[in-house]
């Protein structure tokens, strides 16, 4: 009993180390899915897939994401699973979580084309990382050289980066795969134009238009041709023709900010300033953040001598610019903060890390990993209540995280909320039966509750991992149930693992004397 109490005190210290272990697991590339998948049947996985699809079809993406996450956890090597889950994360505005997920998957499965495709989409979109976009698309076309859409997207990505030679080559590949695709022909023409080859641009636009005129081509194809050619015509002095084709593009898509903008430019060149301004205003109406429309209006009003209106749109353009700048600055700040926070956590400087992680979660409220790290820091600095809140928040994003439940269980145990601790720790080992530390913690809670039988049950399931501490706890629990022989077997196993442990040796002596005493009785 004395040894148990002493062990209990030691265990309290061990709880703190366990939290760190769990944090390290999470930081150090732990695969959430790998251990969990073992706990979930294929049947359950498919049910999650079906439910996820259905919820997605209904537009209930938060619920869908939860289901698809479970499906992914059950199928950690499934491309379909990670892609569907990634798409769901995008739908609920968690792009960087999707990016992490995809990235992890690609580390193990570098040839997963569809995953590279989705990763490229995220890189081009929310991540605003053109280099990554190009890298990923290049990987896709390397793995799937006949992927038309990848070649087309690669062309667009290169054009965004003003790498016109490379864009032309990519579009040419796409064109070779679908020589009758009007949209890609128009894109190729646009790339020629950007690269300064007017002659080829004109020829290719002509071909694109002819292709788009085919009744079998979708209407969108002609709209694409109209739009891209419209820009070309504006910049090459054919403003009247540009107005005609851009009007058609607008007719197809009345919410095309860019089509209005370019038509405004065409009207300007035709000295029809009234229509130019009207179109630019329309562009802004459709897209209030359209900086080019705002800039265009500044110039128009300035030339007309209407400085008040010019200033109005200058203020708008400044607001848009400030927002862009703030985003970029925030991104840098958060990155810097994260760069500082992680080493502090690793070095055990929890108090210093806390304000940094608090800042991260404030600005990135869906960055769930930060909640786990914050919870760890709070726990290590004696702020168990805050730790509990942070870990619960983490689990709200990651409801199938064994590590999360284990950490929360430990924190609850620290707060002497034994029943709650037992619930959370039980959940942890249900999701991941191999979590030995969680088992030990749970066993400890059962012992605290005076339920050694339950503690035995928990610890017996961890037998496949040689762990002196677990064997010692098992011995104690068995001793409590009166099963001295089994307790002795357990303590001998503990000694086999850690023969130098004086405490275990003492426990053995105690067991031997208690066992002898029991026999006498």
């Amino acid at each position: 009993m004395r040894l148990f109490l002493a062990f209990d005190q030691l265990w309290n210290d061990a709880v703190r180390f366990l939290l760190l272990f769990l944090a390290a697991e999470l930081m150090g590339f732990a695969q959430h899915s790998a251990p969990a998948s073992a706990a979930m049947s294929r049947g359950a996985g498919k049910a999650h897939l079906a439910m996820g699809r259905q919820l997605g079809a209904e537009g209930k993406w938060k619920e869908a994401e939860s289901e698809l996450r479970a499906y992914e956890l059950a199928n950690p090597d499934s491309t379909e699973a990670v892609v569907l889950h990634g798409e769901a994360l995008m739908k609920i505005s968690q792009p960087f979580d999707a990016a992490i997920d995809l990235r992890r998957f690609l580390e193990a499965h570098p040839d997963a084309v569809r995953v590279h495709e989705l990763y490229a989409v995220i890189a081009a979109g929310p991540l605003h990382d053109p280099n990554l976009t190009i890298d990923e698309l290049n990987t896709v076309v390397r793995l799937a050289p006949r992927d038309f859409q990848a070649w087309e997207s690669l062309g667009e990505a290169y054009l965004d980066e003003v790498k016109t030679d490379e864009a032309i080559r990519a579009y040419q590949h796409a064109n070779a795969l679908r020589p009758k695709d009007a949209a890609v022909a128009a894109s190729l023409a646009n790339a020629y134009a950007r690269g300064g080859d007017e002659e080829k641009a004109v020829a290719e636009f002509k071909r694109a238009r002819a292709l788009a005129a085919n009744p079998n081509e979708p209407v969108a194809a002609m709209a694409t041709v109209d739009f891209l050619q419209g820009q070309f015509l504006v910049e090459h002095g054919s403003s009247a023709e540009a107005v005609t084709v851009l009007t058609k593009a607008i007719a197809f898509n009345p919410r095309s900010t860019d089509a209005y903008y370019w038509r405004a430019r065409a009207y300007e060149k035709l000295n029809d300033h009234g229509r130019a301004v009207a179109d630019a205003l329309k562009a802004l109406e459709v897209s209030p953040g359209s900086k080019e429309a705002a800039l265009f209006l500044i110039a128009q009003y300035r030339k007309a001598g209407d400085m008040e209106k010019a200033q109005k749109y200058a203020d708008l353009a400044q607001k848009i610019t400030d927002a862009e700048q703030a985003q970029q600055t925030l991104g840098h700040q958060l990155r810097d903060t994260l760069d500082k926070a992680e080493p502090l956590l690793r070095q055990g400087k929890y108090a210093e890390a806390i304000p940094l992680y608090e800042s991260i979660v404030q600005h990135l409220p869906t960055f769930y990993e930060a909640y786990f790290d914050l919870g760890t820091c709070y726990a290590q600095t004696g702020r168990e209540g805050d730790a509990e809140a942070a870990l619960r928040k983490y689990l709200s994003f990651q409801p199938v995280s064994a590590d999360g439940y284990a950490a929360l269980g430990l924190v609850l145990a620290e707060q002497k909320k034994n029943e709650e601790a037992i619930t959370e720790l039980s959940q942890a080992i249900q999701i991941d039966p191999t979590l030995v530390e969680a088992r030990k913690a749970l066993a400890n809670e059962y012992l605290q509750r005076g339920d050694p039988k339950a503690a035995v049950g928990v610890l017996l399931s961890a037998r496949n991992v040689p762990d002196a501490e677990a064997e010692t706890m098992l011995a104690i629990a068995l001793e409590k149930t009166g099963d001295f022989p089994s307790a002795l077997v357990a303590v001998n196993r503990a000694l086999a693992i850690d023969p130098a442990s004086a405490q275990v040796q003492q426990l053995k002596q105690e067991l031997l004397s208690e066992s002898a005493g029991a026999r006498q009785h």
């Binding site: 960087f96 280099n131 997207s153 003003v162 007017e198 500044i298 991104g331």
Partner: protein, 608 residues
């Protein structure tokens, strides 16, 4: 995995639906946004005899300086930005000298390779007098500017560095003293370390030169040192960093300056200034400030005449390019390329983005005319750094020179057609026909690529033709001597302020020529981290006489001179009615007497 988080945290934003099949159309729309390019027919024609206009005379001139970028094989942004070059006649002998900054090993050996001050010997050669002058620099050098801040007749030298900048006071005897601390112009008080372009200008017109110093990215030992871009490990883009604070210093007139950045309305804590230039763009008599930023809007700070400035870049139409894309603005040059009496603006940009030429509309704004004037096509395939407007053939129209070079070492591995070292660009102003690219006609020396950075113009030989000095990253500079031969005439004017600042920075010179007005303004800074000779040089074409020369001084005084003969170097002193000739040590003047060696007598600042 952690490194990936750093990438996406650039733009934590709300997800957009990119997953629909409308992806191509959406992307086409996005492609249209922010792109500047339009194809123009390249108008290139053979001119003259085909003899190159410029010859590289660096070696024969005795220039042995070699710029040290940093540790080989360790690409980083600091190592890709320098050097600047700046021209001034520091000893008053009439021959323009120059200063070039050096980098260092960026901490490996803990050493700094010294900058260099080259004295122009007047015979086509230069002598390194750095040690004697005492201007070695102290840290990794970025750029430099000259300005006689105390109006004692000797141009002083300001060096922008990584770390504290330096102000060297010209002692008038061939030596300089570091007066940075006393003057209070180290420019680190707001935390900025990575300094960039600077300029002296008299923003409050009190006759004393004030100083603006730009701040670039917040780069330090804890910052990303290199990045993987397009699959290669290279220097990071400026978007990988936050910006820094700038600084405006008011000259107190007693050898000290006061940092008035915040009061002036110029302050930004997060700027990425590269080039700065000051000039009176709206002809209201007060110098305005142009600042080109890297990946941010450019600034046009309008001088409000009361010690403050207002950024009207967006309103004026020059803050961003074409459809709102920010520029990698390395060079600022102000010049009246179309001779309509208003200063136009040139800002260089990234490869593939083309450079930008804005025509001053005379109403306080600018209209971009890059495409129409041939600038877009001519600069599409280069990454442009320093240079600007200058009339290299004295035909009365300002031409353009741009020093080029990439900033990602190894870029060829990802894009074989893009080169780290590049050739420079020379564009001839054809008037209404725009600019045509004369680069390929400049001979084989010109076709040797380099890492062009700072550039300055000066008539080093005082022969009536403007030469070009280029600072090359990690290499020797290039001194391009203008061989002349156009048959055109010129006039070169050195202005000396008495009520205005001594260097006459901010003075406007206007000449009438065949019914056309040509204007030039004495400008500090400009180009990229560099400064050209402050003397104003006009090409006169076939005219052998200038009927009228009008000088508008920063003090508000106006003077007019008549019937000045062409092909002369004049000196106009504020308030004096007669025009004299500049004197060049070792060269006889018109009267047959050899000009005395020595300095222009020290002039006292006339109190207002």
């Amino acid at each position: 995995m952690r490194s990936f988080k750093r990438i996406y945290l650039n733009e934590p934003g709300i997800a957009r639906n990119w997953l629909a099949s409308g992806f191509p159309l959406l992307r086409a729309a996005v492609v249209a946004v922010g792109l500047l390019l339009a194809a123009v027919t390249t108008r290139c024609q053979e001119k003259g005899t085909g003899r190159p206009q410029f010859l590289n005379v660096t070696r024969s001139a005795g220039i042995t300086f070699v710029h040290t970028k940093g540790k080989p094989g360790a690409p980083m942004i600091l190592a890709e930005m320098a050097p600047g070059v700046c021209v001034a006649d520091f000893d008053g002998d009439g021959w323009p000298d120059f200063y070039i900054v050096n980098g260092g090993d960026l901490g490996v050996r803990g050493s700094h390779d010294r900058n260099a001050l080259y004295h122009n010997n007047g015979d086509g050669t230069f002598t390194d007098v750095t040690t004697k002058a005492g201007v070695p620099g102290k840290s990794y050098g970025l750029g430099c500017v000259w300005g006689d801040y105390d109006n004692d007749g000797h141009p002083d030298l300001y060096v922008s560095q990584y770390g504290e900048d330096i102000l060297y006071h010209n002692n008038g005897d061939g030596t300089f003293s570091d007066v940075t601390v006393k003057a209070g112009v180290g420019a680190t008080e707001l935390g900025t370390l990575f300094h960039s372009g600077a300029t002296f200008f008299d923003y409050d017109r009190d006759g004393l030169l004030d100083l603006y110093v730009g701040g670039y990215v917040a780069f330090g030992p804890d910052s990303p040192q290199s990045c993987v871009i397009y699959g290669i490990t290279t220097s990071c883009a400026p978007s990988a960093y936050n910006g820094s604070a700038n600084a405006l210093y008011h000259n107190n007139g007693n050898g000290t300056f006061t940092n008035v950045t915040k009061e002036s309305g110029l302050f930004t804590s997060n700027g990425k200034n590269l080039s700065v230039g000051a000039a009176d763009y709206d002809n209201d008599g007060w110098p305005d400030l142009f600042v080109a930023n890297d990946g941010q809007s450019a600034n046009l700070y309008h001088n409000e005449h009361n010690g403050s400035f207002k950024d009207i870049g967006l309103l004026a139409g020059m803050a961003v390019g074409g459809q709102g894309a920010t520029m990698a603005g390395m060079c600022i040059s102000l010049g009246d390329y179309d001779n309509d009496g208003s200063l136009d603006l040139y800002i260089s940009d990234w490869q593939g983005s083309s450079d930008h030429l804005w025509k001053n509309d005379g109403k306080g704004g600018f209209d971009e005319v890059s495409r129409e004037t041939g600038i877009t096509r001519a600069t599409l395939d280069h990454l442009s750094f320093g240079g600007g407007f200058f009339d290299y053939d004295n035909d009365g129209l300002l031409d353009l020179f741009i020093a080029n070079g990439h900033v990602f070492p190894g870029i060829e591995r990802s894009f074989p057609k893009i080169h780290y070292k590049q050739t420079n660009t020379l564009l001839h102003n054809e008037g209404k026909a725009g600019f045509i690219d004369m680069s390929s006609l400049q001979g084989k020396d010109w076709q040797v690529p380099n890492s062009g950075r700072g550039a300055a113009f000066a008539d080093f030989g005082n022969g009536g033709n403007l030469d070009i000095l280029v600072g090359n990253g990690g290499a020797a500079p290039s001194l391009w001597r203008n061989q002349g031969g156009s048959g055109n005439h010129f006039i070169n004017i050195k202005l000396v302020g008495t009520r205005s600042n001594r260097d006459a920075i901010g003075a406007r010179v206007r000449i009438e020529l065949g019914g056309v007005s040509l204007i030039q303004e004495v400008e500090g800074g400009g180009s990229y981290l560099s400064q050209s000779d402050l003397r104003v040089h006009f090409g006169l074409g076939a005219e052998r006489e200038v009927p009228a020369v009008q000088v508008s001084w920063p003090s508000g005084a106006h003077q007019e001179f008549h019937n000045l003969a062409a092909d002369e170097f004049y000196l106009i002193e504020e308030g004096r009615y007669e025009v004299t000739l500049q004197s060049f040590a070792g060269r006889a003047n018109k009267n047959g007497a050899e000009s005395p060696l020595g300095r222009v007598p020290a002039l006292k600042k006339v109190p207002r």
